[in-house]
């Protein structure tokens, strides 16, 4: 089932649920709960996917509306029902993934509920507007923190990135605004659900932008790696050479503390470092063998033709002595020696240290030993 069909299904089912509850319980709160429940399911389908952190569903913003609109019992019933429907809609995932995601969502929702009421009770007697805003902020932060913690438990790895947090910021502020918009104006009940609906526009715009970003990033990475395979298809280098060199080069770059943009260029240069070979005449035709520096210089010339990849071309050119260039030389030679078989790693490192006629940067060789050598298992991946 495609994403848009699932969304349509949710909208239709939500409409039916709202109509039925409106008929059974006219004037009661159950219609609003049915609509918000459907909005949670829809929010589970619309997910912010920054590259650097776990995906964040827009349902977290709807939770902030629900926590204010419903009693704790109503909240729990609505959330559990909505997550059950969302569970059924995740047909493409494995059972284990579905259970984990549902557990994370329920944990985050319960955290939001607890934080909201704890703060509201603690601030009893203060200006009601400030109570609402502070309690909503607490609920939003609690959701994100519990979501993060549960992801750490799931991955069994204590790693929290502070990158890509603009999505969290947008989600919490957007959710607070949606919640404030619910019955918000002048204490009038009339605004009802139109407030959250209207104020979901900024979040939907953010979702759209994140989707476009994720898809173009995927296309870009696939384009570069597809290009990197061409020398292999032409039989000029061993299979997997480019991707292995790229991966190890980035690891070494990180070990030698290159800045993130430089790592990106290093990756592109590593993937495309044999591209120039394709443009040179065959050795039989020109009557002399191809020098490695000719290959890299031709590649650099091609990369330098575009503004965006010029730094990658600079890095590849044989007349530069940047750290990135040294890394590329070492790693490319290393991969020629090992052909991707880790059993040869130590021997290859040894050979690079003492190799006759070749001069490699000792700092890079030390880093290579730390990352790929077996003598220091702590650094091994």
């Amino acid at each position: 089932m495609t994403m848009s069909r699932r969304l349509l299904l949710v909208v239709v089912l939500g409409g039916i649920a709202a109509a039925v509850t409106g008929f059974v319980d006219p004037g009661g709160s159950s219609t609003a709960l049915a609509v918000l429940g459907a909005a949670i399911v829809a929010g589970e389908l619309l997910v912010l996917r920054p590259a650097e952190r776990a995906p964040l569903p827009l349902s977290y913003a709807v939770i902030l509306v629900l926590v204010r609109a419903a009693s704790p019992a109503e909240f729990l019933v609505t959330v559990v029902a909505a997550e059950a429907v969302a569970y059924l809609l995740r047909v493409d995932d494995s059972a284990w993934d579905r259970i984990w995601v549902t557990a994370i969502r329920l944990g985050a929702a319960i955290a939001a509920l607890g934080a909201f009421h704890a703060v509201a009770n603690a601030m009893h007697g203060a200006d009601s507007r400030w109570i609402v805003l502070t309690a909503l902020l607490a609920a939003g932060v609690a959701e994100i923190v519990v979501d993060d913690l549960l992801h750490v438990v799931r991955a069994r790895r204590l790693y929290l990135s502070m990158h890509g947090r603009s999505a969290d910021l947008a989600l919490v502020t957007g959710g607070m605004l949606m919640s404030v918009g619910y019955r918000g104006i002048g204490g009038l009940e009339g605004m009802g659900l139109w407030g959250p609906l209207l104020f979901s526009i900024p979040l939907l715009a953010a979702w759209y932008s994140f989707e476009r970003l994720a898809s173009i990033r995927r296309t870009y990475e696939q384009t570069i790696s597809a290009l990197s395979v061409v020398p292999e298809l032409a039989g000029l280098v061993r299979q997997g050479h480019a991707s292995r060199v790229a991966e190890l080069s980035v690891d070494l770059g990180r070990e030698l503390r290159l800045a993130p943009p430089d790592l990106e260029y290093l990756r592109a240069a590593a993937l495309l470092h044999h591209l120039g070979h394709l443009c040179l005449d065959d050795p039989e035709v020109r009557g002399r063998p191809i020098e490695p520096s000719e290959v890299t210089d031709k590649g650099a010339e091609i990369l330098r033709e575009t503004d965006y990849l010029r730094p990658a071309g600079d890095l590849l050119a044989s007349d530069t002595a940047s750290v990135g260039n040294q890394i590329l030389r070492v790693v490319s030679a290393f991969d020629e020696l090992t052909a991707g078989d880790p059993a040869f790693n130590d021997a290859a490192i040894e050979a690079l240290y003492s190799g006759p006629g070749y001069v490699y940067d000792p700092r890079v060789l030390d880093a290579l030993e730390r990352v790929a050598g077996s003598r220091l298992p702590a650094a091994a991946h």
Binding site: T173, G174, I185, P202, A206, I216, V230, L233, V285
Partner: protein
Amino acid sequence: MQRDIPIRATFYCVALATAAVATAVVLAARGPLPAIAPVLILGALFALAENQVVDLPSGAGASASFMLGMTAIVVFSDQGALLGPLLVGMCGGFYWPHIRAREWRKPLFNSANFGLSTLVSAIVFNALAPAGAHTPGQLLLLAVPATCAFAVVNLALLTVSLKLWTDEWPATWRSFGGALLQMYPFALMGVFLGALYLDYGAVVVPLLVVPILVARQTFASYLAIKESQEAAVRTLIGALEAKDPYTAGHAERVAGYAEYIGTELGMSPSRLERLRFAALMHDVGKLVVPNHLLNKKGKLTAEEFAQVRMHEDVSVEILTRIDFLAPVAPSATSEAAEFAPVADDRGQPIEPHIVAVADAFDAMTSTRSYRRALPQETAFDELRKNSGKQFHPRVVDALIIAIEQRHELHGRGHEDIVHHVDAPEAGTGSAGLGDLLREIENGSEQAAGR
């Protein structure tokens, strides 16, 4: 550059700015004065929104600042302080690139334009709004005349300005209805934010502005990576052209013709985008063909021909690795693009046929190492002759219509770059001719048989 601006345009900017300032002075003298804090907060955000404009494909750039103008109208409406919306709108002139370039007319004009548009919109809103707190239903309705008033004043002042600047009446009003529809959701968010501001204070403003800024920032990153995607494809084309200088510009031209055909066939922008990339990359497999075969002047041996043909498989292999292009990967083979008149082609992507026709047209109308460019009419005749046999008839018609509508001329005598003026008149050899190669070969075989 500045000297070219007519004096009457300068006069207009100064007059408008003077009018805005004079109005502000009159309003300040008459009172009531607006509260300082909302003027500063909303004005600063209005200016920020103007400076944060990301060029969206739909051109919905200025909407975020307009939204804050609507907020200002509601925030100041209960005091009746019309000076507030005027001042907030006037902050919209502080567009940093204009100020840095010292184009002082543009900030003057924009400042006056935003200020007066917001002011008129506020007058209309206040005249129609009942006293006291507004219900959501009232806000929903009031946003309509307020949006119209803003849009009419803004566009009228802009149209006059463009007329004075360029001496031509611009077509700004043509898209007026669409622009109004696009503005209304922002107007609604603006007026509801204004109502929330009256209830909760300034703290609600960042709640709306932060997600919008995040969305814009993310969209800007998207545009940046899109640029790098273009760069990756240019890199590929650069490598191809380094191998075979006779094909310089070939990929771009094929992509251009493919875009003509796609537009003529009514494709959506996203599908056109995919078609363009597929057309740009259709020859990627030629990277594995040795240079001496690509540039061979004489006839290829059967063995060499097979080696050259292998590039199509490599192209498909590579395009399939890119999810976005995988559905149209057969664009790179002449076999898959072969039009089969009997087969039912519904459900089959038409892109391979488009690339095949665009490729053949460009191959015929440009000079190669083995043949001089053919005249455009000859190329059209060749396409028409094979339409329904080798080429998809709808695609052939679309290309011919698109080129004739644009009054473009390609082929012999109209080439941008001629690399090889002494190329033979006709003959076979080399790659890149796609299906036509076989056609010519068959012809020469027939001639030999006779």
